[in-house]
């Protein structure tokens, strides 16, 4: 088997995640989908590092994880406070930007 399949898998996961972001209304689930996309990227990075035989890819994946962690913390906090304010975790309810 050619390890390039990892890349195909990553692409597939990424696409699924993206679709989830677009389809789901529940903010938490949307967030999960984002995480899924990030992980897909990580997988791609790792695979790349294996291809090129250097560790930079893994470094990037590492950083991605860190950033993802930070992002999740803040994002979830936001969701919680929004839920407190509006008793809803639906993305569509936060459509006040419309004129």
């Amino acid at each position: 088997m050619n390890p390039v399949n990892y890349l195909y898998l990553a692409a597939l996961l990424f696409t699924i995640g993206a679709a989830g972001v677009l389809i789901r209304r529940n903010a938490i689930v949307v967030f999960m989908c984002v995480e899924l996309m990030l992980n897909a990227c990580n997988l791609a990075f790792v695979t790349f590092s294996r291809m090129h035989g250097n560790l930079d890819g893994q470094i990037i994946a590492f950083f991605t994880m860190v950033v993802a962690a930070a992002e999740v913390v803040v994002g979830l906090a936001i969701i919680v406070s929004v839920f407190r304010a509006r008793h809803s975790a639906s993305v569509d309810d936060a459509s006040l930007m419309k004129l």
């Binding site: 972001v21 677009l22 993305v91 936060a94 459509s95 419309k98 004129l99």
Partner: protein, 645 residues
């Protein structure tokens, strides 16, 4: 001496400024100041005249250049004056008659609280008229030309509270503007043809220009003359202009301003001499107006309107004469001057009559006034004899000469013109006799004075109690004296000119040649007298023998048409007023709905489009996410394609 010319104009101009800006404190003394300054101008005129007589006939012309008025590349209009015999004649006529009428107005306008302004306007007119006749180039002449137009506008509409007066004033100005169009186009033509419009150079070069150009210039000048001198087809304003105070009618609309057209044509003699076609048109216009005015004059019962018709017809004589070329110019001017005297006298007489009759203007309500206002009767009568050309009086000489010249034009035209002038003479005699009889003879047909408002012309004395029976009385001295002087003039002027050599006086300016009439001068004179007698006789039969009905009879078709100024106003109204109103209305509509509509339509379209686009921004994060995702996809596709290609 040259520098006096500017003073001629300056004096009355100063008067106008002082009187119009002076304010109420001049109400007491204003009219004296105005009269004085007019007289000053007259005196200066006399001085210059004396000086001029001292010189030899050829270098009598004086020039004065104050400064360059409009200096632009190749377009030089100077503030320059020329005083030659022609202008001198006019200067004396204007300032002389003008002064007399100032004096007359002192009495006539006594009761008008705006008398100061009236005199201011009169002075303004005198100044403008002097500028007109003294100008040394056509543009400056145009300045004076419009200046007198303004003065006449202000004076016709002097009683602005009367809608009729205001309308008449506006009408006069507008019709004159049409004429002015002709004048300005003529000036432009001169500029493009000769590169200048100063009298001297233009006349010098007029020989070299193509006849077509000259004809065009001539016709344009004629148009201007028609406007100012109330010639067909621009004659319609003169009748209405009688809304103005009678002194105005006498000075502006009889003696001086309306004759400016004649001055213009005679002044442009060199151009017309080189353009026979233009000359022919001039004579035709003169002939037509001559008859037109005469016919109108026969039908009017309003004494001033009748006189106005007569003025038109007399000016028709002058224009006709001016159109005859060198054989006629001199006589045109001569008739102009004599006419200035007797017509002014007649108007002043009419004014005096109205003054005595509670401003009644309908001759059918006069009658038998000769006993009550003898002086007016005598002066008016002398003027009457003069205008109908009673042998020995001024009108006789001048008109007789014109008729001769008309015949002398030669060919069929000569015969036709001669016949027309003779016919005109007969009609003149007829309607003037009619006026005379209806006013001063027969039994009294006086009526109680109508209210000042409905009065056909609310002259200042209209403060009479409405409904009071008029008790005619002779007018005050200030009014009588000018009438007497003018009467003297209208008696003597003709003879003086005849024997003191008016022809030789004007010849250096206008040129003169003896016309060779197919019929002998004596015959013409005899014919003139004969037709005059016939006219008088007819009028006597109609108005002297039978009593004059107070209410005008229905009259023949022609009479009724003539009462309506031969339907000219109806024509104008139908064509220009109504048509113009519709045009402007529709244009306003077009401007609002079409021109502006296109703009607003565009705006609306843009607004609608953006409104639709706004719907895309529904505020749902997921929608935006989709577009973003799709955009990314497109980008990737693009990059891939780039690679592929």
């Amino acid at each position: 001496m040259d520098n006096l010319i500017a003073l001629l104009i300056a004096a009355p101009l100063l008067g106008a400024l002082v009187l119009l800006l002076g304010g109420r404190r001049l109400d007491k003394s204003g009219h004296w100041l105005g009269t004085l300054l007019a007289a000053v101008s007259f005196v200066i005129g006399l001085v210059l005249f004396a000086d001029m007589l001292g010189k030899s006939a050829d270098d009598r012309a004086l020039h004065q250049t104050l400064y360059t008025w409009i200096p632009v590349e190749g377009f030089q209009a100077d503030m320059a004056f020329r005083l030659d015999q022609l202008s001198m004649t006019f200067v004396l006529l204007i300032t002389g008659v003008g002064t007399l009428i100032h004096v007359y107005s002192i009495g006539y306008m006594e009761h008008d609280e705006r008398r100061r302004r009236f005199f201011g306007y009169l002075n303004l007119f005198v100044a403008a008229m002097l500028l007109l006749v003294l100008a040394d180039n056509y543009l400056l002449l145009y300045f004076g030309w419009e200046g007198v137009g303004l003065a006449s506008y202000l004076l016709i509409g002097f009683w602005q509270h009367k809608p009729t007066a205001a309308t008449a004033a506006k009408k006069a100005f507008l019709v004159n503007r049409v004429g002015d169009m002709g004048l300005s186009i003529a000036i432009m033509l001169m500029f493009t043809t000769f590169g200048t419009f100063a009298f001297g150079p233009v006349f010098e070069a007029s020989g070299q220009a193509s006849e077509g150009k000259l004809t065009a210039i001539g016709l344009m000048l004629l148009l201007a003359a028609c406007g100012k001198s109330a010639q067909v087809p621009l004659q319609s304003w003169l009748g209405d202009a009688m809304e103005g105070p009678t002194p105005v009618s006498a000075l502006i609309h009889a003696a001086t301003m309306v004759t400016a057209g004649v001055y213009l044509i005679v002044r442009s003699a060199d151009i017309f001499d080189a353009a026979p076609d233009a000359q022919l048109v001039v004579t035709v216009v003169g002939a037509v107006t001559l008859l037109f005015g005469a016919i109108v004059g026969c039908a009017k019962d309003d004494i001033k309107k009748a006189l106005a018709g007569s003025t038109m017809s007399q000016i028709g004589y002058m224009i006709l004469a001016a159109g005859l070329g060198p054989i006629g110019y001199v006589f045109a001017i001569m008739h102009l001057v004599t006419h200035g005297f007797f017509k002014a006298g007649l108007f002043l007489g009419a004014g005096s009559v109205m003054h005595g009759m509670n401003d009644e203007v309908d001759m059918r309500k006069y009658g038998g006034l000769r006993k009550y206002m003898p002086v007016t009767f005598v002066t008016f009568g002398l003027g009457y004899l003069a205008i109908i050309g009673f042998p020995g009086l001024s009108g006789f000489f001048s008109k007789d000469k014109i008729i001769e010249a008309a015949f002398a034009k030669g060919g069929t035209e000569g015969w036709i013109l001669g016949a027309v002038t003779l016919l005109g003479a007969a009609i003149t005699a007829y309607y003037m006799t009619r006026v005379m009889l209806m006013t001063f003879f027969g039994e009294k047909r006086w009526q109680p004075a109508p209210d000042a408002d409905q009065a056909p012309s609310a002259e200042p004395a209209a403060e009479h109690a409405a409904g009071a029976m008029p008790h005619p009385h002779e007018s005050p001295k200030s009014m009588v004296i000018p009438m007497i002087l003018l009467a003297v003039g209208s008696v003597a002027a003709g003879a003086v000119f005849e024997f003191a050599g008016f022809v030789e006086w004007l010849e250096p300016v206008t040129g003169f040649e003896h016309g060779h009439s197919p019929v002998s001068a004596a015959a013409v004179t005899a014919a003139t007298v004969a037709v005059m007698v016939i006219g008088v006789g007819l009028a006597y039969l109609q108005y002297g023998r039978r009593p004059v009905p107070v209410v005008a009879p229905r009259g023949s078709l022609l009479t009724r048409a003539a009462r309506r100024d031969l339907l000219q106003d109806d024509f104008n109204h139908a064509v220009f007023v109504t048509g113009g109103t519709h045009l402007t209305r529709s244009l306003v509509y077009v401007d609002h709905s079409l021109v502006d509509g296109v703009v607003n339509g565009t705006a609306a379209a843009v607004g609608g489009l953006s409104g639709r686009l706004r719907k895309l921004q529904n505020g749902y994060a997921r929608t935006y996410a989709v577009s973003m995702f799709g955009g990314t996809a497109v980008l990737i596709a693009a990059t891939l394609l780039m690679r592929a290609v």
